[in-house]
Amino acid sequence: MTERMPSFVRRLDRAVVIAFACIVLLLILGSLYSSSFLSPEYLLQQLKVASFLGVIATGMMLVILLGQIDLSVPWAVSTGAMMACAAAAYGDVGAAFAIPFGILCGVAIGVVNGLGVAYLRIPSMIMTLATNAVAQGAMVVYTGGFSPQDSATGAMRFLATGSIIPGIPNVVIIWALVGAGMVFVLTRTSFGRCVYGIGNRERAAYLSGINTRRIVMIAFAVAGGLSALGGILLAGYASKAAQSMGDAYLLPAIAAVVLGGTSIIGGRGSYLGTIAGVILITLLQSILSVMQMPEAGRQIIYGLVIIVMLLLYGRTAAER
């Protein structure tokens, strides 16, 4: 049976297929509720909303592929956004460097994570929680506990809301570029192969002569930078940064990566799956809010969907 399928179908992961099937199913269910679910405007709008999560989930995927996790996403997102807006307050020069500065702050958080995880061998879960707490504390001190007053620069707003190519929002293009970059790195560079190798067994990767600690460090730095980029885009979208803007992105980012078939213990997963996971999560959230489901119901359905889907294909192999 399998042999007769075309090769590109055979190469597809079961998880990716199920995730895409669920997207189609959600769209069909949505269109039964209201016909506007299949309109190009709605779909493009969803793709735009998905792009913010997509950028953040890209970094998360890189870290999860290593068998680690990055729980510092909430405040890496907020720090990126707040620092970029803060730089914007320093006249034209500040505005010009706002976006690189914001990303740099995210990379700095990622570097601290990487140092702790790779060189001090601290479990990533506790290390990234700690840097998250430090970033939060630093931002609370910076803003004095109030919501920040600086607003986003024109460039940030343009990236988040404008469109260079008519009809296609800029954020979607940014996500596509980030995604293409990640696919290239993961499949065509030795760095990408090392990431998969470390995720499978760091010891074996180390014995093969890979500088595993440097790779882990770089991966965390990239993840921090991408989280900050996501925050900067979000700040551009809302015209300003907010204290807790990143909180809503940690769990969806992990869920999107895992629903896309990436193994949470690392070493296995494709970027196509992450794309599917991001769109799936975004559609689910959108449909639940269009149906005016109260927050409580949304949380319950959200959790149940993740568990049911993972029980379908995310189970670890039976031992022994």
Binding site: I69, G116, L120, R121, I122, P123, M125, I126, M127, L129, A130, T131, N132, A133, V134, A135, Q136, G137, A138, V140, V141, G144, G145, E202, R203, Y206, L207, T212, S244, D247, L251, I254, A255, V258, I264, I265, P294, E295, A296, G297, R298, Q299, I300, I301, Y302, G303, L304, I306, I307, L310, L311, G314, R315, T316, A317, A318, E319, R320
Partner: protein, 326 residues
């Protein structure tokens, strides 16, 4: 007879946590304007005990090499439930308390069942069940409110004989009734063994699955005790997402400070309790030194960062670099 050496090395993390706590608490009370009085101890105990319960719940799961990211949400759910049913005549109140504890245990059992029998990773599983538990809490209490049997609440948050904080007595009670029998039972040992090396535990014929399942269930039960106490302190139920997340986060911090290894198989709930008390005391240190409260989150974060980095000192002793990679 060199047994005490083994005991010492097994209890090393716990003893360190006790030492950290004692030092922090002495600094705290020495600088507190009121000094070492029953009132100061009672307030500190009431603040610390909540986190201690959550940390204990987290420990039971961490010992099996798992992690429970839903522990804060179980706390919220049982808090919201308690604000409905722990009220009325003594009999009704008692039934309410039992129901709340059962619901907590059920939450833990669901986590355990999905992780063990569904073979999903604990991180993702508990993130997802945490969302479900939070949703249910929100259904129970869309807005903060409710009430609780105030006689019981005052009795459990006040002082025994005018000196000993009764919340500490309750904490000791839970340790005696749940932790000690558990850690000495076959299932408790199986949970430790499974956390240390699942394959070796299986080869030795330990009841791994039942041990792990019991750990998750008891974890939920203890989180529910925490939820009850949260209700006793506040007299209300409140499904606040931020507070649930904070309790989950702090529970992990407390567990690490308490010398429990996140890789499993090492540490004790006693250590986690002292880790929790130490963490709370550290947070409160700023107040007695008259710092602007705005610095508190940064200070707590830095302490956490330093504490986990200190754990890396063991790396210096590693002779074979391969031991870096577990």
């Amino acid at each position: 007879m060199k047994d005490w050496r083994y005991w010492l090395s097994a209890q090393q993390g716990t003893l360190t946590a006790v030492a950290i706590f004692v030092v922090m608490f002495v600094i705290y009370t020495a600088n507190h304007p009121a000094g070492f009085t029953a009132n100061v101890v009672q307030t500190a105990a009431n603040k610390g005990v909540l986190l201690a319960f959550v940390a204990m719940a987290q420990t039971l799961v961490v010992i099996t090499a798992g992690i429970d990211l839903s522990v804060g949400m179980i706390l919220l759910l049982t808090n919201c439930l308690a604000s409905w049913i722990v009220i009325g005549t003594p009999l009704e109140t008692a039934m309410g308390v039992i129901a709340v504890l059962l619901v907590g245990a059920l939450c833990g059992a669901i986590n355990g069942a999905i992780v063990i029998y569904g073979r999903l990773q604990p991180i993702v599983t508990t993130i997802a069940t945490g969302a479900v538990y939070f949703g249910i809490a929100l259904l129970l209490r869309p807005f903060p409110g409710g009430s609780v049997n105030e006689d019981l609440a005052d009795a459990l948050t006040g002082r025994l004989f005018g000196v000993i904080p009764s919340s500490l007595v309750a904490l000791a009670g839970v340790v005696l009734v749940v932790w000690i029998p558990y850690s000495r039972s076959v299932y408790g040992r199986a949970a430790y063994a499974a956390g240390s090396s699942e394959t070796a535990a299986y080869m030795s014929g330990m009841p791994i699955r039942r041990g792990k399942f019991l750990s998750y269930t008891l974890g939920g039960l203890i989180a529910a005790v925490g939820g009850l106490f949260l209700t006793f302190f506040t007299y209300t139920g409140d499904a606040a997402l931020a507070s649930g997340n904070a309790y989950t986060l702090f529970s992990i911090a407390a567990v690490v400070l308490g010398g429990v290894s996140l890789f499993g198989g090492k540490g004790s709930a006693i250590g986690a309790i002292f880790g929790a008390l130490a963490f709370r005391t550290i947070g409160d240190l700023l107040f007695v030194f008259d710092f602007d409260p705005i610095w508190q989150p940064l200070f707590q974060g830095l302490i956490l960062l330093v504490a986990v980095s200190l754990g890396a000192i063991g790396l210096v002793r590693v002779r074979n670099r391969l031991e870096w990679f577990l």
